[in-house]
Structures are given as structure tokens and as C-alpha cells.
């Protein structure tokens, strides 16, 4: 598929054009955090971000969502639809987009399809913004992806470092979005060269590496290793690593009620919490931070691989950057490797 280019000052026009048909979500800055919000004008977009603090997974799998409401013991009627308009997520990073391929395996599996996730996923176009400034904590290249990864994207947009963006359609829907107006023009030879150079530079910037080859087998052998005693020591047992993680998808179903009525809610939950596996009888199969941290690592690098053939990590580095006690997954993987 041949690439397109668009001048940076034309981008707003293009997005405004698309907003007629779509709700456009884009990175917006507020309170020192960059996060995805629906925008009313392209001027709201904050481009100077490395990546958002929270992952955009909550646009598909919200932290808390109502499954159904009830009043006086009666369930209320189902909602017909979750999305009023199809959405575009603009400038999602390739790692966060790639993550949706993993979540698809869980929520859109062969046996049970989660209607909420699936509807949001189907109604959303992903316009990726290639990562030209990866961070020191990024290790996507170790996770069989990279800063220009196209998995799950409809469009890949690349800042060429001059006055224009390179735009490549990945899917038919992405192609349609390009074809909606005439602001985009065919990329010239110079643009293509620049693209290749930008890509190479970005990939070279990623110095962090972990080795996932053979990791699954290694983990099989060290379930009862003393390694876990060591690595969990400083863990506070909070849920930052799981709640800010791209791929973590555990949840709880719970009922909330006030006088006027109640709701059954699906809410994120974390394997780092003691209550996650606490049974009504008082029995808890994962009794301390040690078991819980082992579960987190095992789930990503062993169990998920066994069940879905892929590692449940995209190398975004959020867990590393945001851990209050600087627990570093790269280091843990290294230690496992050394065992």
C-alpha cells in the first residue's frame, strides 16, 4: 500500500473532517498527565507526549462499567448500544494498539465473547502515532514488536521530523479514512526515505532488552524457587503495575446499591490485592505478596503463553516507570534467566 503525507498544519482540518462521522479521541494534557479524551477541536491535542500515564485499554475495557441496573429487585432493560458514534483513537502508541490483539484473545475468545469489549472494539478505528522518541523504559522490540508496529492499527502516522506526517493505511477502513478528503497527498521518494531513516533511528534508540525466548520453559521450573522470596521483598502490594499495565485485564463483578437502586458493575481488579483470591470461607490460595507477584509474572510470561501462544506484555514500560519502589520487570526477567 502506497503511503500518503499530510502537512502538519493540515492535520487539524483532516481530523475536523473526520469528526463529522466519528468521535475522535486524542491525547490531552491536564494535571500533569496526558490521557485520551474526546476532542472538539484538533487544537486540544497534546503532541509532546512520550506515552500516556494510563493506557488507553480503558476505552475498551473501562475501569468500571455498569452491566445492568436494577430497582426494587427488578433488572432493568438492556442498553441497545454502547457507542453512539464510531470512534477514532488518534495517536495511540503502537504498543498500546498491539496490546488489543492480546485483549482480543481474552475477551473475544472462541467460547465466550464479551459483548461490551467486542462492541467497543468493533466500533473503533485506531490511528497509531509511531514512537519516534521511545523512553529508556521501553522494550517493545523485545516483545516481537517495535516503535512502528502496525498490529491492530488502521492507520500508522509517523512524524517525519519536518513539517509533515507520513500516513500509511493498514486496513481498508484506514484507507477509507484517508480517502475522505484531499488534504493527504501521495508520498514522494524523499518522504519514503525519511520514513525509513526515522524508523531505523527510533528502533536503535530502544536499548532495553529482555529475552523472552525460552522464558516460558524456565518459568515452568522455578515455581517453587527462592527467587520469589527475593523479588517480592520491596513490593508494597498496590495495584499500580496492574492498573497501569496495558495487558492486565482482571476484573471483578460487584453490586453497588443506594436507596434508589443498584447496579451490577464490572470493575478492574488486581492480582496484587489479597482480596482478589480470598474465598468466603476465609481460605486464600495466594496468601502473601510473594504468591501474588509470582502470579503476575507467571500470568504474563508463562500462563498466557500456554493459553494463547503469546506473551502478555507489550514492553510499554509503564510498570517500571510508575512503581513506587522501582520494581523493574526487566530485572526480574534477568534474574529468572540467571536461575
Amino acid at each position: 500500500m502506497k503511503g500518503k503525507v499530510i502537512g502538519k498544519e493540515q492535520l487539524a482540518g483532516w481530523l475536523d473532517n473526520l469528526r463529522e462521522e466519528y468521535d475522535v479521541w486524542a491525547p490531552v494534557k491536564g494535571n500533569g498527565l496526558v490521557s485520551f479524551h474526546p476532542i472538539n477541536s484538533a487544537s486540544e491535542i497534546y503532541f509532546g507526549f512520550l506515552n500516556t500515564r494510563k493506557t488507553p485499554k480503558d476505552l475498551f475495557f473501562p475501569q468500571s462499567e455498569v452491566l445492568f441496573s436494577f430497582r426494587r429487585g427488578e433488572m432493568e432493560k438492556d442498553r441497545d448500544t454502547l457507542l453512539e458514534k464510531p470512534r477514532i483513537i488518534f495517536a495511540i502508541r503502537p504498543c498500546d494498539a498491539q496490546n488489543l490483539a492480546l485483549l482480543d484473545k481474552v475477551f473475544d475468545s472462541e467460547d465466550y465473547q464479551d459483548p461490551y469489549y467486542v462492541e467497543r472494539r468493533k466500533g473503533t478505528l485506531l490511528f497509531g502515532m509511531a514512537c519516534t522518541h521511545p523512553q529508556t523504559t521501553c522494550f517493545c522490540t523485545s516483545m516481537r514488536a517495535g516503535p512502528f508496529e502496525k498490529t491492530c492499527l488502521d492507520l500508522l502516522i509517523v512524524d517525519l521530523g519536518n513539517d509533515r506526517y507520513f500516513v500509511e493505511a493498514v486496513t481498508e477502513q484506514g484507507k477509507d479514512a484517508i480517502g475522505k478528503n484531499n488534504l493527504l497527498e501521495d508520498a514522494g521518494e524523499k518522504d519514503t526515505e525519511r520514513l525509513a531513516k526515522t524508523k531505523k533511528e527510533a528502533e536503535e534508540k530502544i536499548k532495553s532488552k529482555i529475552v523472552i525466548e525460552g522464558l516460558e520453559e524456565k518459568l515452568d521450573k522455578i515455581f517453587d524457587s527462592s527467587l520469589w522470596d527475593r523479588v517480592h521483598q520491596r513490593c508494597l502490594g498496590c495495584a499500580i503495575c496492574t492498573y497501569l499495565c496495558s495487558t492486565c485485564h482482571c476484573f471483578a463483578l460487584l453490586d453497588e446499591k443506594v436507596d434508589s437502586g443498584g447496579q451490577r458493575i464490572r470493575s478492574w481488579d488486581s492480582c496484587m490485592f489479597p482480596g482478589f483470591t480470598l474465598e468466603a470461607s476465609g481460605h486464600n490460595p495466594r496468601i502473601s505478596n510473594k504468591e501474588r507477584m509470582r502470579q503476575r509474572v507467571m500470568h504474563k510470561f508463562n500462563y498466557f503463553v500456554k493459553n494463547f501462544g503469546q506473551t502478555a506484555c507489550v514492553g510499554c514500560g509503564r510498570c517500571i516507570r510508575n512503581c513506587p519502589v522501582n520494581i523493574d520487570i526487566r530485572e526480574i526477567i534477568q534474574e529468572i534467566d540467571n536461575e
Binding site: N31, G32, L33, V34, G48, F49, L50, R53, K54, Q63, S64, H133, P134, Q135, T136, T137, K205, Q233, R234, L236, G237, C238, A239, I240, Y243, L244, A252, L254, E256, I265, S267, W268, S270, F273, P274, G275, I320, R321, N322, P324, V325, N326, I327, D328, R330, E331
Partner: protein
């Protein structure tokens, strides 16, 4: 500080080789630029890992609750006050811990560094006496440490540990200041403004409970938000429930919180509720003349009473 780090390592090594302690909880260099992290040292020759600088942000007294054996612990002013509280509340025994006190001129807030960087990635950082040098792709900048201090540190009046077994280096002067001027200023705002502020802050809360889990004073075996029967308050990030969670946490730590600032430092969503904790601290001080974590004898204020306690608010 360099000098103190050397002394700290020596003291730690001696404690371990003399078998006075089984483990030393201190700080080591982290894996990220300008970061340190808690470390547990059991062998004398590992003590060279120990560091002491303005980035030792964690309140290590958190780990005392689960530590086994005789524990040596590196304690800044605020950590030492937390330890006093824990001893008083019988969470740790005085004789089980050896406090290595370090006078602390203040800790750098990594969120302030982040603000300075404005979206650029920090690849390397160097700390000197009064400045930090921040380096990354295509930039190198100096920033004054004073401007980067965590807000709790700027109003800290207990930089020197109140309780210690050995002190590293010399005591530093305690600043004289009006610690609560920010609380006064905030109080003078309208009801609505204050309400909006707290709602805005807690609206970002994702209920990861890092604030609670990192807090040395939050050690209930089961937190009130995790109780199932009765379920006190909702567990989702519903605005009313998050607000209540933070409010009750403030109430639970009233008379116990030393304003170490750990809760705000660990928050991944930049929720800033220090003012609420400080208000409780101020009330306790003004109403009951109690300063948290400064002596081992006085009963915690919320566990006792005086017959003539102020009661103007009661009809």
C-alpha cells in the same frame, strides 16, 4: 551527603558483622535515572550498595511490620517519626529495631522533575549539593534542588530523626516557619471551591491503593474498603466513593500521620491531598497539643481524652 553515605555504609557494615542486626533496610540505587529504592541487606559486604541522597523518597518504616528478626533501618526525620508511631501502636518492638538516623535536608519530588522535563525522557541524572543535572536526548539542564523538593519537605520541621540508635553525620538546623500557612490559606476559600478542589483531585483516583499500601500508618489487616460484610463503601472509582475513601483514610491517620508525603509521592495519577492530612495534623496539634511521632510516652491523641477537651461544636 556523600560523606554521610560513606558513614552510613560503615555503620551498616559494622552492625551486620557484629551481628547486632539480621538485616538492614536502606536505599540502593534504582534502575531508573535519579531513582533509589528500598533494599534489604543481610551480608556485610553488600553494604556498599547502600546509598543516601535526596532521592531516598520511600518511607522505609513500612517494612517494619513484616520484617523478621532484629532489623536495622535507615530513617530520615519523617521515617523516624513514623517508627515512633509504630512502636507506640505496638506494631513493632523498640528492642527489635536499630534505628540508623540520617538528618534529611529534603527529598526531591520526581513529579517536579517530570514537570521540568515537559515530556522529554530523562536518561541520566546527577545530583550535586544544590543542583541536579538532567540529561536526555539532545538536552542537558540544571535545576535547583530547592525548587524540586517535595511539598511535604518544604514545610518539614523535623529534619533530624527524633529517635535513633546512631546518627549519621551531624544534625542540621531545623527551619523556623509557619508550617500551616497553606492550610490557613486553603481554609479561607469558599466551601464550594474547597469541595471542587477535592472532587477534582479524587476524580483521577484509580483505586490502586498505593497511597494506603505505602503508608506506614495504614496497617489494618483488612482495610475498611475491603470489608465485605458490611460493605461500607463502594469499590469502584465512583466519585463519591473515592472521595470517601480518601477522607476516611485521613480520619484514620489523624493524630498518626507525620506528613511524610509518601502517599502523594507514590500516586500514579498525581492526586494531591496533602492539604487534607495537614489539616488533620494541625487540628490535632491545636486542639490537643499533640505533635505526632515526637515522643514515645504520650498516648496517641485519638485513643485518649481530657475531661476539658474543647467542645464548642457540640450543642
Amino acid at each position: 551527603m556523600q560523606e554521610n553515605q560513606k558513614h552510613l555504609r560503615e555503620a551498616a557494615e559494622k552492625l551486620l558483622s557484629d551481628k547486632k542486626v539480621d538485616v538492614i533496610i536502606g536505599y540502593e540505587r534504582g534502575t531508573l535515572p535519579l531513582r533509589t529504592r528500598p533494599v534489604f541487606i543481610r551480608e556485610p559486604d553488600e553494604t556498599k550498595k547502600l546509598v543516601w541522597n535526596s532521592r531516598c523518597e520511600n518511607n522505609l518504616s513500612f517494612y517494619l511490620k513484616t520484617a523478621k528478626g532484629k532489623v536495622g533501618i535507615v530513617a530520615k526525620g519523617c521515617d523516624a517519626r513514623s517508627i515512633v508511631g509504630l512502636i507506640k501502636e505496638r506494631q513493632v518492638k523498640r528492642e527489635d529495631i536499630f534505628i540508623i538516623g540520617v538528618p534529611c535536608p529534603g527529598i526531591i519530588d520526581r513529579k517536579k522533575i517530570e514537570d521540568t522535563l515537559e515530556g522529554r525522557d530523562l536518561q541520566e541524572g546527577v545530583e550535586s549539593d544544590s543542583q541536579v543535572i538532567l540529561k536526555g536526548e539532545g538536552f542537558e539542564e540544571k535545576a535547583d534542588k530547592d525548587k524540586l523538593l517535595h511539598s511535604s519537605c518544604t514545610t518539614c520541621t523535623h529534619r533530624n530523626p527524633v529517635l535513633y540508635d546512631t546518627l549519621i553525620g551531624k544534625e542540621i538546623p531545623e527551619p523556623k516557619m509557619d508550617e500551616y500557612s497553606d492550610v490557613e490559606e486553603f481554609s479561607s476559600k469558599k466551601d464550594n471551591e474547597r469541595w471542587t478542589y477535592f472532587n477534582d483531585e479524587t476524580s483521577r483516583c484509580i483505586r490502586c491503593y498505593a497511597c494506603r499500601n505505602a503508608c506506614p500508618s495504614c496497617y489494618c489487616p483488612q482495610c475498611f474498603v475491603d470489608q465485605s460484610l458490611p460493605t461500607w463503601f463502594g469499590r469502584t472509582p465512583h466519585p463519591s466513593d473515592t472521595l470517601i475513601f480518601h477522607m476516611i483514610r485521613t480520619l484514620h491517620t489523624a493524630g498518626r500521620c507525620v506528613d511524610c508525603g509518601t502517599c502523594s509521592r507514590v500516586c500514579p495519577m498525581n492526586v494531591e491531598l496533602q492539604i487534607l492530612n495537614k489539616k488533620a495534623e494541625k487540628d490535632v496539634k491545636e486542639l490537643y497539643g499533640y505533635e505526632v511521632g515526637t515522643n514515645l510516652e504520650e498516648l496517641p491523641p485519638m485513643a485518649t481524652f481530657k475531661i476539658d477537651d474543647p467542645q464548642e461544636f457540640i450543642k
